[in-house]
Symmetry: C2
């Protein structure tokens, strides 16, 4: 295990001073150096296998070229493509991403944040925020570069890249209406998250705009975005005894659970009840029935967040931006035109 080659080694071998070598090797400063000297130095460095010691550089410049990426749980299929987008973007700018799983626990989140701050990350991309997220807001107030992705904080000072949830829900509802549905239920996401809150608000808004019956009993709130909650919410919906012919779910996992619960109760999707999701996560096109859902550009939302953060770090600019990306309705097998026979549950 041999000692790493340092600037000093290169300097000695090349016959120049370390500071000259440092400049020659830094693209931003190499123009200060005679071109051929710079080239010679680069050759020597290459030959010796010189690699910058990132810790030393970080200590000196107090920039680590690392960013922290916080997600609730990498295991949730929605996040990998987002993370991938973030990483690809950030890597192009020379940043490495450190990923942390918060499990949606604010305590874990702030402990992770401080762990990453110890490491001196240059910024944060956060997918795990809640609408009221003190940790994130105070990060921003301290002048740290932060971009939330997919979700937003209820504070315009925190930059974000998110999806056009309103448009997604509008497209879902008009699609269902075009199929003849009127009594449409909603399994809402947790209102602690901007996604849950926005989709719910849009549901109400467009339900009204489309002049659909506004029965509050047709909305049930989930606590988490998972299949089990989807099942529970359908059970609750059925228990309320209101008639409905379609369910708009706040995300795909809820929809998957919802369909499962319907089947268990002898109701078929889409024959008896149409169901829609949100996100178009991997595999939902292969389910039976394939899920009608709103496609978000998962990779892209991550990529754009990376770009935005890189710019904030690079320029030192801390003015907040809010990027909202377009969505698409993907019509598949879980929605169907209303026929004569309506279920009377």
């Amino acid at each position: 295990m041999k000692r790493r080659v340092t600037l000093k080694d290169v300097a000695k071998a090349a016959g120049f001073h370390v500071s000259t070598v440092s400049r020659a090797l830094d693209p931003n400063n190499s123009h200060l150096i005679t071109a051929e000297v710079a080239q010679r130095i680069r050759d020597v460095a290459e030959k010796l296998g010189y690699r910058q010691n990132a810790a030393a550089a970080a200590l000196r410049t107090s920039r680590t070229r690392m960013v922290g990426v916080l997600v609730p749980d990498i295991t949730n299929p929605i996040f990998p493509p987002i993370i991938r987008g973030v990483e690809d973007s950030l890597r192009r700018h020379g940043y490495l991403s450190i990923i942390g799983n918060t499990d949606g626990d604010p305590k874990r989140e702030s402990s992770l944040v401080s762990m990453l701050q110890d490491r001196g990350v240059d910024g944060f991309i956060i997918a795990s925020v809640e609408l009221e997220d003190k940790a994130v807001v105070s990060l921003v107030e301290d002048g740290i570069a932060v971009v939330t992705v997919n979700r937003r904080v209820d504070n315009p000072a925190v930059s974000s890249v998110s999806n056009d949830e309103g448009e997604g829900i509008r497209r879902v509802l008009t699609h269902l209406v075009s199929l003849g549905h009127e009594r449409i239920a909603h399994i809402a996401g947790s209102q602690r998250f901007s996604t849950g809150a926005n989709r719910y608000r849009s549901f109400l808004e467009h339900r009204e705009a489309l002049r659909l019956p506004a029965d509050p009993e047709l909305v049930v709130f989930s606590n988490m975005y998972n299949e089990l909650e989807g099942e529970r919410c359908v059970e609750e919906l059925l228990a309320r005894g209101r008639r409905f012919t379609a369910i708009v779910c706040a995300n795909d996992r809820l929809a998957v659970g919802a369909i499962e619960a319907l089947v268990r109760r002898g109701l078929k999707c889409p024959d008896n009840v149409s169901v829609t999701g949100f996100n178009d996560m991997p595999m939902v096109d292969r389910l039976r029935p394939p899920l009608t859902t709103v496609r978000i550009g998962q990779y892209n939302v991550g990529y754009q967040a990376g770009e935005l953060l890189a710019e904030m770090i690079g320029t030192g600019q801390r003015e907040a931006s809010h990027v909202v990306l377009p969505v698409d309705l993907v019509i598949r097998g879980s929605t169907r035109a209303l026929t004569t026979a309506l279920p009377e549950n």
Copy 2:
């Protein structure tokens, strides 16, 4: 944006020297200090909001408490649980994980490796290795701590944590035989990967042990672990015109593609052909039909790899270990007893 609190600040505030403060704050050295002094210092540090500057510590000790985690593509559903296991384990030991996607490209892999070495990571967990992986072997030869996870390198000097592929295939085959199947095809994984090679070898081995017909035309090799390749392989299998009543696929994604191609050709699974997968990745229990597959402990394989790496880093021990974890057969709907009517394709 105020200056960070340093040891010196704490020292001044507490009325001790920085070295004393450093020791007091380091659990490994605090025993060298009068207990109450140590406590007082910790209190002051806390009050001032002291956070260690990791870059400075790393520069001094040349240990960063970061590890590199390389996967082919985080977007592939098999990896998130593994990564999660790695991270959870490593975090308990105080390490942060930096994840990189290689896309299965050896060039990208070695570029990532050197990027991470620049950053001075203390070790590597690599899920993206091929059987002949020069980059990884030379890493190990340089004395770097490396553990491969899920896959192995064809070199016993490289530590690994993997699954009992042989047992998995054995269970699959005996299951199929118990259902009356005899002419069993195999869609093998790429032989560049230990998983593909092991599962293929085990297939041959147990096919012989079970005295099944050994028709080489019943094996077709995929190039990548994805659905499209599964489809292609089934097409090839059908084109060969040999009779078969079951297909053992080297992994779940191949199986998903295989079933799709079968359906397209008017063959039903499991009615006409039984299909098995490997990995039990998320969602395959919700497909139609739900996939019979071999369950590996995805989280656990990652966790164990993290433990092993942490130990290697901690002790400096570089002797290779090879951990092989048990697997389970999960019988679901994609396999069925052979009935009278055999398809004659």
